[in-house]
Amino acid sequence: MRYTAEFRNPEVAQKLLESIRQAVAGFAGTMTLMEVCGTHTMAIYQHGIRSLLPASIRLISGPGCPVCVTPVDYVDHAVALARHPGTIVATFGDMVRVPGSSSNLLHEKARGGDVRVVYSPLDAVALAQKHPERAVVFLGVGFETTTPTIAGSIIEAKRRGVANYFVLGAHKTIPGPMAILADDPELKVDGYLCPAHVSAIIGADAYEPLARDHRVPCVVTGFEPLDMLQGVVMLARQIVAGEAKVEIQYSRIVKKEGNARARQILYEVFEPCDARWRGIGVIPGSGLGIREEYAAFDAARQLPVVVEESKEHAGCLCGEILKGKVTPKECPLFRKACTPENPVGACMVSSEGTCAAEYKYGT
């Protein structure tokens, strides 16, 4: 089994598109489907899925890129840590070019700061073991897919007795903003293409309140083009039938109950807290903070630094783009002041940002 080529078969795609057209044939009006996962955003642009769908189906991107929804003061905090003598900042590659108020991590590296891109938080733990005299700070950014791996790294650091490994956390959970956007009268979300790998951890059951209380159909959908088209078929059929239930298209990975062991690791180290989302504001209980028992690994508590006063960039519409209210082309900075080489907003920097996708693949 290859798991990629077979899920990209163009002939099957044609058949699925036919099924979509059949599903919406008698449907008057437009249905708005939102995805809330950066990998879906990229896949939609990369495979030109929007241009293939009937005019009555509108696909919009929500706050699905964890780098993009991270507020600017977090980047400023990471920059301040990178400037702190003796500190190593370890991060996934996506974060290094995200603009802070006056700098970014790549600039700090050029100025002599020790910023390293790692593939896994466990690599950062190994880095801390290699440099016991220095503080190694891992930038903990991500949704429920990633946070268990960061919890795992803290548990592993504790097990190995590593006292110089720290996490600067900005972890977020996705169902909260989905509920808020579901009720937004301006957006009128008719259905959610629910994230694939977040759902592997939290389980499809996590969307039951959205379907039941907010009456929004939810289909957990994989990242391959055929997965996505099948997800659209399933959503369109629910919407036309006036149903609102949770279905799993991506059943080869996602179970109703999710991965209980991963959640146990996650909640061993983290607990729910309020979190601020770029563009949306503070959502109660939508973040994950390090528990008191693991405070020794919390960079925010253990490594005090002075962080500059943060300011958002004037004219940048990232906040509205993250809510699906504005498309990148409607932002006055897009392709002009804001490009992948010279990004102003996070949505252009991140490889999964909506603006980066529109710039790379858009027409």
Binding site: M1, Y3, E6, F7, N9, E11, V12, K15, L16, E18, S19, C37, G38, T39, C65, P66, V67, F92, D94, Y119, S120, P121, L122, D123, V141, G142, F143, T145, T146, P148, T149, G152, I155, E156, P195, A196, H197, V198, A200, I201, F223, L226, Q230, V233, S251, R252, I253, V254, N259, R261, A262, I265, S350, E352
Partner: protein, 76 residues
């Protein structure tokens, strides 16, 4: 950021597996998954196996796709 790569487990040493796809080998922690054996497919994210890939289920999805090609409709 939530990208996951399906890889086949080629060897296991305690909680760490060596996984392979298309000739690329990577170490991954098995901390989050139970009962994984050599030959199983797992989904790798940031150095951890986060879920087992259900081969039977994947084949079922592919079977539905093939059926679609034969019949011209999506089975309900």
């Amino acid at each position: 950021m939530c990208l996951g790569v399906p890889m086949r487990v080629v060897s296991i040493d305690n909680e760490t597996a060596v996984c392979e796809i298309d000739g690329v080998k990577r170490e991954a922690s098995l901390m989050m998954v139970d009962g994984i054996g050599v030959g199983d497919f797992v989904l790798i994210h940031a150095g951890f196996a986060i879920e087992r890939l259900d081969e039977e289920d994947a084949q079922e999805t592919l079977r539905l796709f093939r059926e679609l090609l034969d019949q011209g409709v999506v089975p309900e």
